[in-house]
Each structure stands twice: as structure tokens, then as C-alpha cells.
């Protein structure tokens, strides 16, 4: 075992040096790292590292707002012996994940606190890249339940919810008002509203009805899950079993396919991620647009400032259901000074810090009370809608091989949207694949 571990370390060290050969030599080697040590819940509190205090690091994507550095500075001023160093990784979620996995596979102690995307929880926990957290030391009251669920794997808490995210329906309030309409709650209402608006509002005559994120990437998984959930189906049910071939799930996919076919969603949306869609909405090319809360501030500084508003997502037969986004803080298994790390995470998740972070970055907080905070509501008028979106949001499948699952979902969806596969056949095929992937 220890020999194997050493082999693995050497392998990976050698591999990272020969970056040019990365493709020829993408081996891992050895069987160390995760060899069957059981980790019963609460075991972390016995880990001596949880008594250790001292300097730690915190690893996340680009700190675009600069606010995380402010928070870190604030902490460092108060705790000169337990300083935190911020390590910024790439903008791309995939690359962040890669670097964190690489650090864990080499059992490096460089990373202490990891900012995990909610969909990595299962993978990081099952591979024991991150520690189970001592539940008795963390007070979870006041957190939105879906955010706690997103940090939990097999009834064990692995992370502290940091930020959350839920989808919103952005709409052109000026056009809807001119046509005398209320924001739609179902897809049919949305389609009818579009027809009315295009007929009555000159400016909107050439606009497309709706658009979300339909490029083949994680955003497509989010959007198709919302369509499926909104139709009353689920891609995976509450116990995690795949139910993609249920009639409701197929109805969700059929709706999206038909929306592309009849032009409700423009063909161009097949290449849209968040930014392309936002651009189209800001350019006045869309009446309705599904996106995350971050768009609000940006759109408020664009040509459509004051001409748009947000509503909960629509669904096929009733109100829609958002996919849950967000990030959580976890502690790397191979880190030192985990005592400091735990304290720092709890401090970060406190109400005051979350509030200052929300004000500075517009990231959605994970504490319920903040959604009725007057200062936040004044700055972000959508807080109430966002809270509703997060409270009813569904997590994406919680599986170890999430990468394979999300790719299978994207494969089935994208080929249907491009008109290459029929919805029924696509999801039947997806069901077979998911049955194999999800144990």
C-alpha cells in the first residue's frame, strides 16, 4: 500500500513535469489514495489535524469581484497566526476541478479549503478528496435546505454552503406592459404572450420568443433538467434512480425540441451559453430569457436598463422548477491546520460575511434571513423571486461519475434539438445509459 502510494506520487510528479507529453502519458499508476479506509461519519473530529492551527490556503476560481481577497484580508488582520492565502485557479469550472483532483491524487497539502461546485460533491466525497465535516461543530440552522442538501452525500455533510444559484425568467417588462400582459407561468402562456407581443409591439416584431443555454455544455443539462422537471418528470428521481424514459420527462424534451422546430427558440440558441444569450436579450432580440441572477446587474447597465424584470421560471403545466447551482467550501483531506480551516469556513458562512459578499458580488447567499434583508432587496429587487427559485430548486444528479451522467444527458438532448433523434428514442437510450452509469 505505502509502496503503491509512493509509486503514484512519483508517477504524478513525473507526469506533471512532462506536461508536453500529457497526452501520451496520462497514466495515474498505483492504487494508493483511496484504498478502502472506511470513513464513518464524524470521524473527522478525531483527526488530529482538526486540532492544528496555522496558515492555510483557500482555492477557488478567479476572484473577479476582488471581494474574496477583501474578506481574506479582514480575517488575516484579526488572526495574524492563522493567516489565509487565496489561490485563484482558472475561470473554467472544468480546469478548477482538474487542478483540485490533481492536488488530491498527489496528496498535496498545498490546498486547504476547496470551493466545490455543487455537482462535484459526490465525486470529491466518494474519492475521499475532501473530509467529512464534524456536524456537531457546524450550526446549520438558517441555511436554505436545498443548499445543505447540495453539500451532503450519503447523509454526511462534506461542505459548508457558500453561495447558491437558481434560474430566473428575465422578460421585457416594457413590451409585456404595452401588450397588457402578466409574466407567464407556463410554456403555453409564454408562447401566446410572444404572439401577442410580436403583433402589438412594433419594436418586438423581429424579436425571438425565448432562449436559455442550449449549447452542448453543462448549461444544457441545467436547461433540459428544468424543462423535464417543469413537465412533472425527472431525469433522476429523489432516490437517485434514473427515470428519463417516463412520459413526463419525454414531454419536457419534446417541448424543447418543438420550440426549436417552430421558432419559439431561435436556431441560433443551439450555440448559446450564458453570455451569448445575455447578449441577445440585451440587444432586444429576445422577449423571454432564462439565466442566472448575475445577469441582473449587467443588464441594468445596458440599453435595456429599466425595461426588463424577472419572474419565476415557467413550466409545461405550471410553475417551473430551477436546477440548483452554487458553490460550497470543503476541506481537502490532505491539508494541514484543518482547525483553522473549519473556523474560517464557519466565519465565511456567517450572516454578516455572506451579506457583505452578496452586496459586493451579487452571488446568492445561502442563509434564508438574507433574502428579506432590506439593504440587499434594495440593491437586488429580484431577491424574493430568487429565494422562491432556490427553495424549489432540484439538484442535478448526485453521482460519483457526474461527468459521464451529464454528458449522456447532453448527448441525448443535443442530438434531439438538432433534429437528429426523436425525443422518445433519445430518452430511452439515455435511460439505458444512466442505468449503466448510476449504481
Amino acid at each position: 500500500m505505502s509502496f503503491a502510494r509512493r509509486t503514484r506520487r512519483v508517477t504524478i510528479a513525473a507526469l506533471s513535469t512532462s506536461a508536453l507529453l500529457a497526452l501520451a502519458a496520462c497514466g495515474g499508476g498505483g492504487d494508493g489514495g483511496q484504498g478502502g479506509e472506511p470513513a464513518p461519519s464524524g470521524s473527522a473530529s478525531q483527526d488530529p489535524a482538526y486540532e492544528q492551527r496555522g496558515p492555510i490556503t483557500m482555492v477557488q476560481g478567479k476572484d473577479t469581484s476582488g471581494n474574496v481577497q477583501n474578506l481574506v484580508d479582514q480575517w488575516n488582520a484579526e488572526h495574524p497566526d492563522e493567516t489565509v492565502k487565496l489561490i485563484e485557479l482558472s475561470d473554467e469550472a472544468d480546469q478548477q476541478r482538474n487542478q483540485m483532483i490533481q492536488n488530491a491524487e498527489t496528496q498535496g497539502s498545498e490546498y486547504t479549503i476547496l470551493s466545490m461546485d455543487v455537482v462535484w460533491t459526490a465525486e470529491f466525497a466518494a474519492n475521499q478528496y475532501v473530509d467529512p465535516l464534524p456536524q456537531d461543530k457546524i450550526d446549520l440552522t438558517g441555511f436554505l435546505q436545498p443548499t445543505i442538501d447540495s453539500a451532503t452525500y450519503f447523509n454526511q455533510l462534506y461542505a459548508v454552503p457558500t453561495t447558491s444559484d437558481g434560474g430566473l425568467l428575465y422578460y421585457r417588462s416594457d413590451w409585456l406592459e404595452e401588450a397588457g400582459l402578466e409574466p407567464p407561468t407556463t410554456y403555453d402562456e409564454m408562447k401566446t404572450a410572444c404572439e401577442t407581443i410580436k403583433a402589438e409591439v412594433d419594436e418586438a416584431a423581429d424579436a425571438d420568443c425565448y432562449g436559455g443555454q442550449h449549447q452542448k455544455y453543462e448549461g444544457l443539462t441545467v436547461n433540459i433538467s428544468e424543462a423535464v422537471d417543469g413537465a412533472g418528470g425527472h431525469i433522476t428521481d429523489d432516490s437517485g434512480q434514473p427515470t428519463a424514459n417516463s412520459p413526463e420527462a419525454v414531454a419536457g424534451l419534446t417541448w424543447m425540441r418543438d420550440a426549436f422546430a417552430d421558432g419559439t427558440i431561435p436556431q441560433a440558441a443551439l450555440t448559446w451559453t450564458e453570455e451569448e444569450g445575455r447578449q441577445a436579450f440585451q440587444d432586444g432580440k429576445l422577449i423571454f430569457h432564462r439565466n442566472w441572477p448575475y445577469v441582473y446587474n449587467l443588464a441594468s447597465e445596458s440599453d435595456i436598463a429599466g425595461k426588463f424584470a424577472v419572474a419565476p421560471l415557467p413550466g409545461l403545466n405550471g410553475p417551473g422548477i430551477s436546477s440548483l447551482g452554487g458553490h460550497n467550501w470543503a476541506i481537502s483531506k490532505f491539508a494541514e491546520n484543518k482547525g483553522t480551516a473549519l473556523d474560517f469556513m464557519i466565519w465565511l458562512a456567517s450572516e454578516e460575511v455572506q451579506k457583505s459578499n452578496a452586496l459586493a458580488t451579487s452571488q446568492a447567499p445561502t442563509r434564508e434571513a438574507l433574502y428579506s434583508d432590506p439593504e440587499l432587496i434594495e440593491k437586488y429587487p429580484y431577491m424574493e423571486t430568487l429565494k422562491a427559485s432556490i427553495e424549489t430548486a432540484r439538484p442535478r444528479p448526485k453521482v460519483v461519475n457526474y461527468g459521464d451522467v451529464t454528458l449522456a444527458i447532453q448527448d441525448a438532448t443535443y442530438s434531439t434539438l438538432q433534429g437528429n433523434t426523436e425525443p422518445q428514442a433519445a430518452f430511452a437510450d439515455l435511460q439505458t445509459k444512466l442505468d449503466g452509469l448510476i449504481q
Partner: protein
């Protein structure tokens, strides 16, 4: 410094030791010193190239355990030896994907994409590259600017040009405005394939152009003058003089481009995106597998790609006689030895004959 005599003595072996001599055609008796001097480099190379390659070959025969403990949800971990299964699974048809080429195994699909990219890109690049070289070699005003202009795409890092072309090929981008049509280049269809071809040709045709230009400049002007005197047309000059004389350079340039394009990764990955099956190449697929922490299959696919590249390089060298190493010296020495052997047979054994050294470094 070795004198000519010493050098030749070293080359002349004791009688009866002919096959040792064959291996050391260039040796001047300083083999041990040379080995000592280059050993640091060799040690580094072994550490950063040799060992990782060996380990990844080993890895290709293993697979991670994917079993999950039903109570804790933790991975059981560890690896098992699977023999050739990582290779044979390519043909098991368990991982089918749908692309422009129909429903195929993901590996086979990637293999087809890789080969087609190579064929199409290199073909177009060769034609354009030669044309560029011909233009660059002509003397005209502003030649310097044209030369620099043609080389700019080649100097830009691929990842940067991929992102640049991503903007051009955006559904609301310049390309669609020029065409006046709405082509979804960045989706996953046949136009995505061509988007990659266009970008790759734009980027690397100048490379072939540059190498061919170097070849063109070695052709003496007198040859063309003579042809002109003989009344050869421009086309005849090109086909009968330029092409044959530039062929050695051109073949090497095409070989380099072929080997390079077989590894194509950043253009389709950064521009079109991962898991787009109409552009997914072998490098991309191997990368995606490693990304999914399936190092065994990833290593296996990389090895297949490696063997494929070796095969193509071999065919090139054998069929087109590409002289990649360009080791004139050892060739000349081998030739000389062959001649001498023939001479020796003719006139009985004559030893101690001095040779003229071709190595400039060997002369005092």
C-alpha cells in the same frame, strides 16, 4: 582534437571485427567521453520522457475499480489488471455516439475525424503553402510586408487563434455576416468540421510556405534561365524544375504537418468544444477520458494514436523517401565505406588507407 590519422585509425577496426565498426561509423574514439558528457541530458530525458511513457504503457493495461460502498457511498478504489481490455473495448461497441458519420463507437468516430482532418487540412495547406512560397520568393515591392503578413497566423498561439475564430464563427459573427446566411458553425454538425479545417489551414499553411520558400531559394537561377532559353513555359518550369527540386523540402514539410495534424487538439477543443462528435479527435477523446479519471483507457487510446502516427511516419519515409534526419555526414561515410569495400574486393585487402575527412570539426 583528433587529427585525421587518429580519426581514421579509429574508423579502421582490427581485422575480423566488422560488425562493431558498422555501429560506430562516426566514432572518433571519444565515445566514452561523449557518453559521459551527454549523460546529464540523457538522465533528464529518461526521467521526464522515458519513465512517464513506460508508466503510461503500464497504465494502459489497468483500470480503476468503480465499485461504491453501498453504506458510505465511498469508492472502493484501487486498480485491477485488465490485460488488453482497454484496447479491445474499442471494438465492443458499448460507447456509441452519433455524429455526421453516423452512429459509431466514440473511439472509431474520433479516429475517422482525426484521419479526415489530417487528409483535408494537409492537402489544402500544401497547395496554399506552395502558392504562398511562390509569391514570397518573387521579387516585388512590399515583399517584406507580404512575407511578414503571411507568417503572422503561424506565429499566433493556436489557443488564441481558436478563440479568435470562435468569435468569427459565432452565429452573429463576421463569417455569417459575410456569407449572409445563418450557419451554426459552433454547434455540432458538418459545418463545425469545416470551421476547424478553415482555422487550421489559415494557421498552418504559412508553415509549409516558409519551409518551401527555404527550398525554393536553393534552386539556382541559371536553371530557370536555361529553361527560358529552351522556350519552356511558366507551367513547364514549375512542373519540371521547381517541383522536383523543391520536393525534398516539401516532403519533409508535409510530413511534419501530417504528424502535427494527427495530434490536433486545441483548435477543435477551444473553438467547437469538448464532446462535439463531428470534430472530436483522438487527442480530445483521450484527454476527456483522463479528465473523467479513467486513466487506463486514456493511456490505451494515446498509445493507439502514437502507433498510428508512427505508422504514418513510416509510410511517408518509405514511400516518399522523406529525409527527416538529414544526416548527410553519416550517409556519405556509409557510401564511402561501401565503395571502399568494393575496392578492397577488387584489389585484395589494403589496410591503413587514409580517408578524407568530411567532418569539418575533425580537421585541425
Amino acid at each position: 582534437m583528433a587529427t585525421v590519422t587518429e580519426a581514421s585509425r579509429a574508423v579502421q577496426p582490427p581485422p575480423g571485427d566488422t560488425h562493431k565498426r558498422k555501429a560506430n561509423v562516426l566514432s572518433d574514439g571519444q565515445g566514452k567521453l561523449a557518453a559521459f558528457l551527454i549523460s546529464p541530458t540523457m538522465i533528464v530525458l529518461v526521467a521526464i520522457v522515458g519513465i512517464p511513457i513506460l508508466l503510461s504503457i503500464r497504465e494502459a493495461f489497468f483500470r480503476e475499480n468503480e465499485g461504491i460502498d453501498p453504506n458510505t457511498g465511498l469508492l472502493q478504489g484501487g486498480e485491477e489488471f485488465v490485460g488488453l481490455r482497454n484496447f479491445t473495448d474499442i471494438f465492443a461497441g458499448t460507447n456509441n455516439v452519433t455524429s455526421t458519420w453516423g452512429t459509431l463507437d466514440r473511439f472509431i468516430n474520433a479516429f475517422i475525424n482525426t484521419s479526415l482532418f489530417t487528409l483535408v487540412c494537409v492537402l489544402i495547406e500544401t497547395v496554399l503553402g506552395v502558392a504562398m512560397a511562390l509569391i514570397m520568393s518573387k521579387a516585388f515591392r512590399g515583399r517584406g510586408i507580404v512575407r511578414a503578413g503571411i507568417l503572422v497566423p503561424w506565429a499566433i498561439p493556436t489557443i488564441v487563434s481558436a478563440l479568435m475564430w470562435k468569435l468569427i464563427f459565432d452565429e452573429a459573427g463576421i463569417m455569417n455576416r459575410i456569407l449572409g446566411a445563418q450557419v451554426l458553425w459552433l454547434a455540432d454538425n458538418f459545418s463545425s468540421f469545416w470551421a476547424v479545417v478553415i482555422m487550421d489551414v489559415w494557421k498552418t499553411a504559412p508553415f509549409i510556405g516558409l519551409l518551401v520558400l527555404a527550398g525554393l531559394q536553393t534552386i539556382p537561377a541559371e536553371v530557370y534561365e536555361a529553361a527560358k532559353v529552351d522556350g519552356a513555359s511558366v507551367w513547364q518550369q514549375f512542373v519540371r524544375i521547381t517541383l522536383p527540386m523543391v520536393k525534398p523540402t516539401l516532403v519533409v514539410a508535409v510530413l511534419f504537418r501530417t504528424l502535427d495534424t494527427l495530434r490536433i487538439f486545441d483548435a477543435p477543443y477551444a473553438m467547437i468544444g469538448p464532446a462535439k462528435y463531428s470534430v472530436e479527435t483522438l487527442s480530445m477523446f483521450a484527454y476527456e477520458e483522463a479528465n473523467a479519471t479513467r486513466y487506463g483507457p486514456a493511456a490505451a487510446y494515446s498509445i493507439v494514436l502514437f502507433l498510428y502516427i508512427v505508422l504514418v511516419a513510416f509510410i511517408f519515409v518509405k514511400l516518399l523517401g522523406a529525409d527527416v534526419v538529414g544526416d548527410e555526414e553519416s550517409k556519405a561515410l556509409r557510401e564511402q565505406r561501401r565503395r571502399k569495400k568494393a575496392e578492397g574486393k577488387l584489389a585484395g585487402s589494403r589496410t591503413g588507407k587514409q580517408r578524407t575527412s568530411i567532418t569539418s570539426g575533425g580537421m585541425p
